[in-house]
Symmetry: C2
Subunit: 236 residues, 2 copies
């Protein structure tokens, strides 16, 4: 429900920064600076600062007063929380599927699945399709708006997934699982859809420990991670 927004630069900046964090373009642990961002974006500190506050509430950014702002390291605990949340919600939504599915959404999902099978698929495109697919499933059961909450809470999970897929895995396997879930749903076989969904979501989740072993610096440690201010490099 976009509150009749004339575009404000805050919203633009918030979305841009959020995208950059989720796509790892801004690496976990990277130092942010309200002044730097403001200068590079050509605006004042105010909208940048307000965007960072929003990202901090989502857990994607950590702000330490008088010290600095940093992209959150991927927190395995938060990844597990998001995994639990999305599994609970997506499985429960399968129980609320109506007798007759909305044909428009079904058609949209079919088109989505077709595009997923394209061979030459950018990784970002695949993530967008994946996101749209799962949200579409929620809409089938009338809970499309709940996906917003889930999406907001799964930032750490998404970043972990990207770390995983950046390694070597092909999206093809996931696309096949999507297809299996979809066919079970349109076939009215809810129990099969449930098991397929659970398998799919847990497959996504299973790689994280391997990734963590490979790139530990991107993950939060148990100790209170005290950030280090980067050395200043003066260039002139």
């Amino acid at each position: 429900m976009p509150q009749r927004n004339g575009r404000t630069s805050r919203r633009d900046i918030y979305l841009k920064l959020r995208q950059m964090v989720l796509t790892l373009e801004l690496a976990p642990g990277a130092a942010l600076s309200e002044n730097e961002l403001a200068a590079s974006l050509g605006v004042s500190r105010t909208p940048v600062r307000e965007s960072l506050i929003l990202l901090a509430q989502e857990g994607l950014v950590q702000v330490f007063p008088k010290i600095g702002s940093f992209v959150s390291r991927v927190d395995p605990a938060q990844v597990a929380d998001a995994q639990f949340l999305r599994e609970a919600v997506e499985l429960a939504s399968l129980n609320d599927l109506p007798e007759r599915l909305d044909p428009a959404v079904v058609e949209e999902l079919r088109g989505n699945l077709n595009r997923q099978q394209c061979a030459d698929l950018d990784l970002e495109e695949f993530f967008d399709l994946d996101e749209a697919f799962h949200q579409g499933l929620m809409r089938l059961s009338g809970h499309g708006n709940v996906w917003t909450t889930v999406a907001a809470a799964k930032g750490h999970l998404d970043r972990a997934r990207r770390l995983g897929l950046h390694e070597n895995v092909s999206p093809a396997a996931f696309a096949a699982q999507h297809h299996e879930i979809f066919e079970a749903i349109v076939g009215g076989n809810v129990p099969l859809a449930r098991t397929a969904m659970r398998t799919h979501l847990r497959a996504v989740f299973s790689d994280i420990e391997r990734i963590r072993a490979h790139s530990p610096e991107l993950f939060a440690t148990g100790a209170s991670t005290v950030p280090v201010r980067r050395n200043v490099v003066v260039w002139e």
Copy 2:
């Protein structure tokens, strides 16, 4: 995970305003003004404004640029969304109960239930106990932090519940249901716990339509609710 905050006035104001909205001390539809709030709180617009932005992201406040800020009317759709979310999460957490429950949490919950049975119980106290009880159940299954996400998303549901209990219902019935759920869990009877939990959550949810018929002005209508700027009363 409080990021080692020296108390900032923003956090204080955010928590205060949030509490006032959730307890209906600030009624749904009420007009807020950054300037008024700043003056009455003895600070500048900045921390007030940043608090309102956070509340707007939670859906508790709506900000219309160049027009005004308003406490969100209770949106039945968002109430239903929150109901679905919490039911999915709380039922799923019952499946993850460990063999041996954490004795400390069990003891805490027992004390909580005892206090719920006190006859002279302020309504706000009951809500606090209710909140702590449900969060405690989530902690039993190791998903205590997920409750944070659920709590953030159920602002509209909470306000609807308060509207309901402000009418005439006694908390005693809910306390009894809490007890039933708890006993089923410590008894290891997960299926019974599930049905008790489901019954409980839906009982909470069932009164909303009655309340809406009684106080429609507190609820959002389907149409895009265009807020009306209140008349200015100058007094001097």
